[in-house]
Amino acid sequence: MSRPELQAPPEIYYGDTEAKKYTQNTRNQQIQADMTYRALELLSLPEDEPAFLLDIGCGSGLSGEILDEEGYMWAGVDIAPSMLEVALEREVEGDLFLQDIGQGFGFRPGSFDGAISISVLQWLLNAETSHPTSSPPHRLNRFFTTLHSALKNPSRAVFQFYPSSDDQIQLITSIAQKAGFGGGIVVDYPNSNKARKVFLCLFVGGGGGQQQVPKGLDGEEGEDSKARFENRRQKTTKDKNGKRKNVKVIDRDWILKKKELYRKRGKESVPRDSKFTGRKRRPVF
């Protein structure tokens, strides 16, 4: 199966069934938790100041539960109603917003002491329609500009994401820079195919090189996570005989049916159908 972000728009891909599956999968919980703890470490918040954080693409609240446990106050935004519903069921403490981060934020300047985002940014690299505001660079620009202003000075935003090429990394970092951020890419376990993790660490303010891009992790842990990642792959996509299971066909008809269903159930914000609905999704490069 190709990457989720190439299959369908996020609010469709993470429908009721997938949102539950995603959230209940213990291996997935573990991986998202590990990356959340690592992101918090990279945020390096001052210890004595209780912080108010933004969770970008908070989904069903897997990271949010950790933020709760760690004693942070937070707000989360996500575009998938079904993921947010699961977050409600799991009674996370943070405030939740149905929001498309590619449309930008309206938070007042300096609202947040930091931001994290786990496994989300790659979703911004696909165009949904042919409208100019729908192009990935436009959306990234709107996202980073409004995020930059919503963060206090100095602070950080840490994103774990799955880029599929160096060009994508280049596009994202250059737009973040133009929006005023400092910082850069941190790669954990760069030499392990499976455990390799990419973090974008962005800094607001802090002037004069005071904020240095942290070092990536390396060494033995990588082997552990590597095994874990491989196991996970086998579990979720292959059955005992090595055959794929649960391969659902996401085509135009299926998406239109889902959208119709959502509309009936009062999810008003379902994007309008366009001739692009259900087309093959490709990264911009």
Partner: protein
């Protein structure tokens, strides 16, 4: 689950709506009070971020008159407890938030505000 803490940070983000776009006005609201752990350190840290008038006006509109019109200089425990209740225990579950400038309506359902914009409203 819109607590007043987040409402106090939220301005309208529709295209071209950059002034007089805060605070979003509540209407037809359903409120729920949920107890939360009192954290005076967090509150003290957060006070500088608050738009005081917007907070007091909104709280009063929702029936809570515990906060003084002027932000007090002396911060005592009583004040912090009232602030805690307004900011972190008052949840708007249903209703609408309307931008005072462009009149865009952000509906709240199940405690979740719908911040999505139509294509022509995207900046």
């Amino acid at each position: 689950m819109v607590r007043l803490i987040t409402h106090n940070l939220l301005a309208c983000h529709a295209k071209g709506c950059t002034s007089n776009n805060f605070p979003l006005a509540f209407s037809n609201v359903q409120i729920e009070i949920r107890e939360a752990e009192f954290n005076p350190e967090f509150l003290k840290n957060f006070i500088p971020k608050i738009e005081w008038k917007a907070l007091v006006d909104t709280a009063r509109q929702l029936g809570d008159t515990s906060l003084p019109l002027e932000q007090p200089e002396m911060i005592d425990d009583d004040f912090l407890k009232n602030l805690h209740h307004v900011l972190l225990e008052t949840h708007v579950e249903e209703g609408v938030m309307t931008c005072p400038n462009c009149k865009h309506e952000y509906p709240i359902s199940n405690g979740i505000p719908n911040m999505l914009l139509a294509e022509h409203e995207i900046g």
